[in-house]
Structures are given as C-alpha cells and as structure tokens.
Symmetry: C2
Subunit: 249 residues, 2 copies
DNA sequence: TAGTGGTCTAGACCACGTA
DNA sequence: ACGTGGTCTAGACCACTAC
C-alpha cells in the first residue's frame, strides 16, 4: 500500500510554473519574449509537444501571447476604467456629452461597424421591454486602434420608430437625451455583470488571444413609471477593462 | 498570385465548431457526455492528438469539462445572483443579518478555511487604508458543497486590534456592525470589477476546471470622514456568479 | 534563408473511474 | 478488466516573421 501522497506535477506544469514565477518576479517584463519551443526543448531535454504544452498553459492563463513566426511574449495590460454609476448621471447626458467620452480614460476611441435594424425581439428582450419587435443599435468600440467592446442596444420598436434613435447620428447627448425628448427619461439602471470565455465570433471581432475572458454587462434602463426602455448588452475584452461601481450604505 | 482568401480552418477547429453547434442546438444537454477521443478518432479518421485538440478547444472555452476515466461532459451553469448595492444597505447589517445571507439565492452556504492574521500591509492596501499593518480575514465560501469564492478583508491594524473583528465569530451583523460599534460606520462603498483567468492556486482552491475565468471584485468601505476602513478582495468562480448593480441617473 | 509557432501523425505508458 | 482522459516521444510539413 502506498501512502496517499499527491503526485509530482508533470514536466510541462513545472516548466510553466517556473516561467510564471520568473514573470511575476520581474525577470521578464511586459512585452518581453519568453523562451520558445526550441529553447525549452534544449534546456529541459523534452519533446516539442511537451514544450508546447508548457507554453500553452501560460497562454491559456492569459499571461503570454504567441506570435507566429516570432515568439511567445509576456502579455501587456492597460485597462480602461469604466464608471458604472457616475457615468450615467443626468448631468452627463443632459449637457450634450456622449456617455462614452468619460470611458476611455482620456484615450481616443472610435465606433466601428454600426448597424441599426428592426428585428423581432429575442426572448429576454421581449420579456424585459414588453414588446415583440425592437430596434437594435449594434456597434463596436475601439481604443488605441484595438477593438475593446461590442455593444447591442435594444429599444421597443413603436417607441423609437422614426426618431433620431434609429439614425446613425443620435445627436447631442446620445440616445438617453433622445429618450428624454420623447418623454421617457431613464431614471434608474440595473447592470448585470458576468464573465466567461468568448465564443469564436466574439474572439474574432475583439481580436482576443487565447486565455482572454470577456466581461458581459447587461444594462436595463427604466423610466419613472418602472417600464424598461432600453436593454444594452455589452461584451468587453476583460484585459481592457476595470468596471467601477460606487454606492452608499 | 493567390487571392487573399482566408485559410480553411484546421480539422480540430472544424470538429470543435461542429460539437459546439450541436451543444447549442440542444443535441447535447447540460451534463451530457460528448463523443470522446476514441469516438472522434474513429468518426473522422484522425490521430489521437488531433481529437484531443478539438476537445481542448471546448474545454478551454468553458463549454465542456473532462472527467478522467469517464469522459468529456457538457458543462452546467447555475449562477448565484449577488446584489451589489442593495445588499450593503444599513438595514441589512444593522439588524443582525450577515451580509452573505442574501447572496446564495436561497441556497445554503458555508465558510471554510477561515484564517485571521496580522500582517504588513501590501502596497495597495497601505495606500488605500493609510497604514503599514493590517489585520486580514481570509475565508472561502461554498454553496451546495462546491467552493465559489475566496475573500480577504483587510482592516487597519490599530483600528481593529482586540475587537471582535479579529475573532472568528464577529457577532450579529458581522464586521460592518462592529465597525459601527467602533464609531467607524461604513457609509460609502466602491467596487472595482475585473475578470481574468485564475492563477493555479486559485484554480485549486476553487476547484475550477480549465476554461473558467474568475471575477475579481475589490471593495473599499469608506466612513463619513472619507477614510477607508476596509479593503475586501473577492475572487469568484465566474461560472457561479452574476453580479447585479442598481443605481439612479 | 533561417527560425518561429501551428498543425498533424503514430505510436507509448500511466492514473483513474466504472463496472 | 476495460475504457477513459493525462502525459510524453519523435518525427513531419506548413505559414509566417525577421533578417
């Protein structure tokens, strides 16, 4: 009978652990090139697949990024701080500022791939918004030339048909100012936050490397009557964002 | 010259895509067993490593979970809803209820691995709390017998030394009620939310399978004077949580 | 052109879970 | 006992990047 000793970690794990420690100890800095497959094979006397497996551990942890034909590099982070409560205060969109102005932490951003369409409401949207058809504004946001967020805003179709909300340019203050003009001022917001690994199409559109989760924020905007007037689903590159929420006891 | 046609996806990707579609189409339900390595080898006439690679795609996406000696299974989700703003209202902890009572969506929870220690403050904690030494309460929360969250609360050492806050049982209302007793009532909270892949020790303690990110919530509690009295870092299994924040415009 | 990572094959031995 | 996934070897060809 053997005593129930935990097994030695496999070779590839020990190599991955050593590399991770080296990174955290500062031996490799952000953007530095790590030892490649050939270097690990020579250093540890292992097969190629084993060296690959060691590197894939770090890659799937989001600590390293492979570049074809070049090498494996330590990942760089510079997150955007997104303020949950403060940024939606009436002062912001009441005075003609777009909400997103405050988001990029001073860095310029661009909106890509804007599409506006009338669609049958998805099951969730139908329940929350209380309608069968919605107008959807889909767009992608980029900062420093890199895509960071996909967003899809849904509005009850009858409410917004023919307004600036279904136009590419929604005018000063954005969609919330237009909802106010229509007499449906948003006064309350709920945000649901989840995190998961991206679906392949999300990874494509956000140019995510392996090991990068997405943060999914589902925001609902309510009017004084308690009715929901907007459902906004945001999918964010988790490596590019810090969400901040402030509230009182 | 070739036209710049995107390459055909590799075999393992196409197999992974087919399996993913089958899951999303409901051909496999939560907890169902997927075709294993041998089945894929036979079905597609591929080598073992290729079949493995196809399955590893789904595993790293968090869609499937491997069980040694048994098979690969479709992952199951049943998240806990955690209310950000509402749960910290004074009514809750002012009347003797522990904050966590409202968290598990009605399911019972347990606290594991509670340790309480006086330590030199980490760099972040020192800056936020304005002190060199802290008392830290570390614990793990489990729901339905499965670990879901690691938490570490830091308090300024001089403030809480000798109080119930450094005892295993903090009494009715928990640490916030004790801070109130000390005249340092928390009145404002800031939560920073991030998501990333877990470090190996986090994956161990939360029993996370590959492809599961963690949500990191860093909460700071402020008193009326504006001083920070607690820094609480929570690491949550992303598959087990939905965070909800409510706020007004 | 040389070196890198990406894909793939055809084997091997092991630990583990189920029956 | 058998089938499963976990680890590992020793090759191969390819696409891409840097020089």
């Amino acid at each position: 009978m053997q005593s129930p000793v935990p097994h030695d970690p496999p070779i590839y794990r020990r190599i991955a652990d050593r590399l991770r420690q080296a990174i955290q100890a500062g031996e490799f800095r952000d953007g530095d090139r790590l030892p490649g497959e050939n270097a690990l094979m020579a250093e540890y006397g292992i097969a190629r697949a084993t060296a690959r497996q060691a590197l894939s551990v770090l890659i799937n942890e989001g600590m390293a990024v492979p570049r074809r034909g070049s090498g494996v590099y330590v990942r760089q982070f510079r997150p955007i701080r997104r303020h949950g409560s403060r940024r939606l205060s009436r002062e912001q969109w009441g005075t003609g500022r777009a909400i997103w102005d405050g988001d990029a932490s001073g860095r310029p951003y661009v909106v890509d791939d804007l599409t506006i369409a009338r669609e049958p409401a998805a099951e969730d949207a139908a329940r929350v918004l209380g309608c069968d058809e919605v107008w959807v504004r889909r767009r992608r946001y980029s900062v420093d030339g890199r895509p960071v967020q996909l967003a899809a805003s849904c509005f009850p179709a009858e409410l917004v048909a023919g307004t600036a909300i279904v136009q590419p340019d929604t005018g000063p203050g954005g969609v919330y100012a237009r909802l106010r003009d229509l007499g449906h001022t948003p006064v309350h917001f709920t945000e649901e936050v989840r995190a998961r690994m991206p679906a392949p199409d999300e990874a494509d559109r956000l140019a995510l490397s392996a090991g990068t989760p997405v943060i999914v924020v589902c925001r609902t905007a309510y009017t004084t009557g308690g009715g929901a007037v907007e459902l906004n689903i945001m999918i964010m590159d988790a490596a590019s964002y810090v969400l901040q929420y402030d509230f009182d006891a």
